[in-house]
């Protein structure tokens, strides 16, 4: 899990590399570094953020270079462990994203052969291997070195005196940006938006030899070609535009995201997912991680409610070890980036079991789209904030749309559901218009160190998601609970210092939630409840309420999630947290 970039052309490489790296910081920001070739190789790296590095890096005149921003896996964050890593002679530099499983063996072998390795990282073996195999042909040396590696080794190599970059992709993403007499490499599209909209997605096993005006690709020893794509995302999507944080900007984009995602599907009568078997959504298995997992849990209730068939949801990271699937399962794998390693492994396993795999993802051309049988795109645009917001909502919209054609409800109910779904942008806008009130509640919550989120039925996953948002950006310990489960343990923790945020929907869970709220109040926890408009019963029962626009209970997760995103955002802001770059986290997890 890291971000890597490369540039080759006629311009000075350094400012371009630094700019691109800045856009990839969401992938990691423990440390960063650059290497630029101007005949000789100049390398500069440190345990700082990209902005800080830009201030101190010495001028470099070369027009070929590579860069890296790191999320530590092998070896703690430090200047020595930062990339790029070099060979003994300092003539070859490598940036790498992934983990090399057999690096200990390789280290020993290289050390025995007299190579001096300066860091604890797995990456460092790559430049030394290239050095070892170099016989005058840089590209051939890289290709030979890669044969020794096991694991994920997406990387870019640069050699002094060479007028080309050699890169490889294995498991972690790598994109080539095609410019006018210049070419780029990056882990992800946003890094390149300032320079080009023409990209090529490399696939596993690809080796790329790139000069300023040519791109040559090889895979499995023979030349290949990859299709060039035109990117519709704009630089605009990767700027804050007035907002203090990307997270708040992305929260505010949600009405548009819902509209755009809906516009991508044709009509409720035409299924978006092409499912195998006569059973439709019966026995569907949903796999995901993190926020996407919460979307999957909501999806389970949506499908069970509408199609009246049982659905199973599992964490992708658990499923890949002991999960069971049979070929009659349709599987839905939800991954925002389409690159999450756990999700990709899950897809592989599902395919081996003979399942039909539909993936829901936000990134066109991502790995998941290539390994799954079918892709349903969410049209959320690039999400920069580490805490996912708009992609969660877009995933929910995709799941509603996926389930509606299989709904076993009468036509008038179906019509009214489709109508309500289309009106969600306005309802979400109303939650956003209520922002200052939610910020007021956040101010009070910010002083606590333990907060419980509860919900029931379709809003139970919303409570989980609300708690996740809060803990990841505000560092407050938050736990999401099904309200019926509080009595099995957590009651012991309630009290005046442990507030409860309750998500209440006007569905069949309303009465039991009221009972839970009474029990909680009896234990003196302050309660903040999310309630629909005109709900006077709850107002009398709890300490404070956030009023949510009235929607069909089936769609209540959408509006409730937005309110909880704002709540988490303002709590974190009140506590002065670095909201877009929470500590120890990174966005696309391409490691286990």
């Amino acid at each position: 899990m890291c971000g890597i970039v490369g540039y080759i052309g006629a311009k000075k490489a350094l400012p371009i590399l630094l700019n691109c790296l800045g856009k990839l910081e969401y992938r990691g920001y423990d440390s960063c570094g650059v290497a630029v070739s101007a005949g000789d190789l100049q390398v500069y790296k440190d345990m700082v953020r990209v902005k800080a590095l830009a201030k101190v890096v010495p001028p470099m005149s070369g027009t070929i270079g590579i860069g890296h921003t790191r999320w530590a896996t092998h070896g703690e964050p430090s200047a020595a462990n930062a990339h790029p890593h070099c060979d003994c002679a300092g003539r070859i530099a490598v940036v790498h994203n992934g983990t090399i499983n057999n690096f200990l063996k390789l280290r020993e072998m290289l050390a025995a052969e007299g190579h001096t390795l300066a860091s604890q990282t797995d990456t460092e073996v790559i430049p030394h291997l290239i050095e070892k195999y170099y016989d005058g042909d840089f590209a051939r040396a890289v290709e030979r070195a890669l044969k020794d590696l096991e694991g994920a080794y997406t990387m870019i190599a640069l050699m002094a005196g060479e007028s080309r970059l050699v890169a490889a992709r294995q498991d972690s993403p790598l994109i080539i940006g095609i410019g006018d007499r210049e070419n780029f490499f990056a882990s992800d599209v946003p890094a390149l938006l300032d320079y080009t909209s023409r990209v090529m997605y490399l696939e596993d096993g690809d080796i790329a030899m790139v000069t300023a005006d040519s791109v040559k690709l090889r895979n499995g020893g023979s030349s290949i070609a990859r299709e060039e794509h035109k990117i519709s995302w704009s630089v605009e999507d990767a700027q804050k535009a007035g907002y203090e944080h990307f997270m708040l900007k992305e929260i505010h984009e949600q009405p548009k995201v819902i509209r755009d995602t809906l516009a991508g599907y044709i009509s409720a009568a035409e299924p978006v997912a092409n499912l195998a078997g006569a059973g439709g959504l019966a026995d569907t298995l949903i796999l995901a991680s993190g926020t996407s997992y919460h979307a999957g849990l909501v999806g389970k209730t949506i499908i069970e409610n509408l199609a009246r068939v049982p659905v199973r949801v599992e964490l992708a990271s658990e499923f890949i070890y002991n999960g069971q699937a049979s070929s009659r399962n349709n599987a839905i794998v939800i991954t925002q980036s389409g690159e999450t390693l756990d999700a990709l492994k899950a897809i592989k396993k599902l395919k081996e079991e003979g399942c039909r795999v539909v993936t829901i993802t936000n990134v066109v051309g991502s790995t998941a789209t290539r390994v799954a049988d079918q892709t349903i795109y969410t049209r959320a645009g690039p999400e920069i904030s580490v805490a996912a917001t708009k992609t969660f909502l877009a995933q929910l919209v995709a799941l509603y749309w996926l389930a509606l054609p299989y709904a076993r409800v009468d036509i008038s109910r179906l019509d009214s559901l489709v109508e309500d779904l289309r009106r969600l942008p306005v309802k979400v806008q109303q939650v956003l218009d209520n922002e200052s009130l939610i910020a007021g509640h956040a101010k009070r919550l910010a002083e606590y160190e333990n907060i419980f989120y509860i919900g029931r039925g379709i809003n139970y996953p919303v409570a989980l998601e609300g708690a996740l948002k809060l803990k990841e950006i505000s560092y407050i310990h938050a736990e999401g609970y099904a309200s019926g489960e509080l009595k099995h343990g957590p009651y012991a923790l309630l009290g005046s210092r442990a507030p409860v945020v309750a998500v209440v929907a006007r569905d069949n869970t309303y009465d039991p939630i009221i009972i839970s709220l009474k029990e909680i109040k009896a234990r003196k926890s302050p309660v903040l409840a999310l309630v629909s408009e005109n709900d006077e019963t709850i107002k009398d029962l709890v300490d404070s309420v956030i009023t949510i626009p009235d929607v069909d209970p089936l769609f209540s997760p959408v509006v409730n999630a937005v309110a909880l995103q704002l709540l988490a955002y303002y709590v974190a802001r009140e506590r002065g947290c670095p909201i877009d770059f929470p500590r120890n986290l990174a966005k696309t997890l391409t490691v286990e």
């Binding site: 704009s234 630089v235 605009e236 700027q239 804050k240 535009a241 007035g242 907002y243 900007k249 505010h252 984009e253 548009k256 509209r259 755009d260 809906l262 516009a263 991508g264 044709i266 009509s267 109508e419 289309r422 009106r423 942008p425 306005v426 309802k427 806008q429 109303q430 956003l432 218009d433 922002e435 626009p549």
Partner: protein
Amino acid sequence: MKQAVVLAAGEGQRLRPFTVTRPKAMLSIADRPILEFTIEALACNGLRDIILVVGYRKEQVYDYMGSGEKFGVNITYVTQETQLGTGHALSQAGDAVGDEFLVLSGDNLIDARTIADFVGVGPQAVLVKRVSDPQRYGVVNIVGDEVKDIVEKPKEARSNLVNTGIYAFTRDVFKFTASTLDLPDVLNAMIKEGYTINALETAGTWLDVVYPWDIISLNDAVLRGIETSLGGTIETGVSLKGKVVIGKDTVVRSGSSVYGPAVIGSGCEIGPHVSVMPATSIGDNVVISSFTEIRNSVIGDDVAIGPGTVISDSVIARGCTIKGRFTALGGTTDVRINGESPSINVGAIIGEDCKIESNVTAQPGVIVGNFCQVQPMKLIGGRLPDRSLVY
């Protein structure tokens, strides 16, 4: 002149119900916010460094305008926390501007020609426009090219030239904005101090939205200038005439007619058998069912309109659900506003997120607030406050 300050912080109370949830500058005309026309006019005249003063519901301005990249400009945002006046708004931009700059209002409708000559005029200067009803505006009295004074809404106007709210200033203006809240007063104060303020008259578009029904005539005026651009899916058997804009991912179904000038946004489902008649703007994600006719009207985003409906001379804000057989037709009506009763030709003015059940008839000039609900078979008229229930 390379820099412009655009004032877009205001609420526009007289435009309620539409401004309860959005700033005046973000009201939609021809499927684009009013503010966008000003930004576009500046970009066309080579002014790309724009400072936007925002305040009331500023997030909606951020969400739409972004960093300005979409419009070929670079936007810096400045916040006016409380809307005390245009001079006060300008003073918020004090740190962001250079020596000379233009000042414009983000909630008047202008085009590139309006300011084409003015951008070449040095400060201090004001752009004026000749109108037939000057007593509605700030009347500018001039001698030669020089402004003598500005009188706000005089009983008797001594000239037909009115203040467009478009100025060219040097930083000297900030000496006055500290103590004077509104820009016309600032100008008067500057004249008193011996500054020369030049007036330049424009023949270009300059329209003000004051009341909700002004949106209808502005929409008509703007639509006359559109160029055809067709996105989405247009099924066979659809008749398109005149200048028509249809957004991406929109489906226009068989048997429908779209007679321009008309704009339909993206992600809409129109038809089958729907007539979109001239001077109509339709937002994004709108569904219009069979046998409905819409003419000379503005329909917001996320609206659903049922079958057999007739709508003309009306404004329907975003998120409304209107069931079948709704009727809202224009007619001459008197509205009472601030003690005046102007006679206007208007159908229905409907605020956001209203739910109107089947077979409802709207009397000409009805103003329905936001979040209202109307039961089937009702006749609605007059003025309904926000969250009204008609049953």
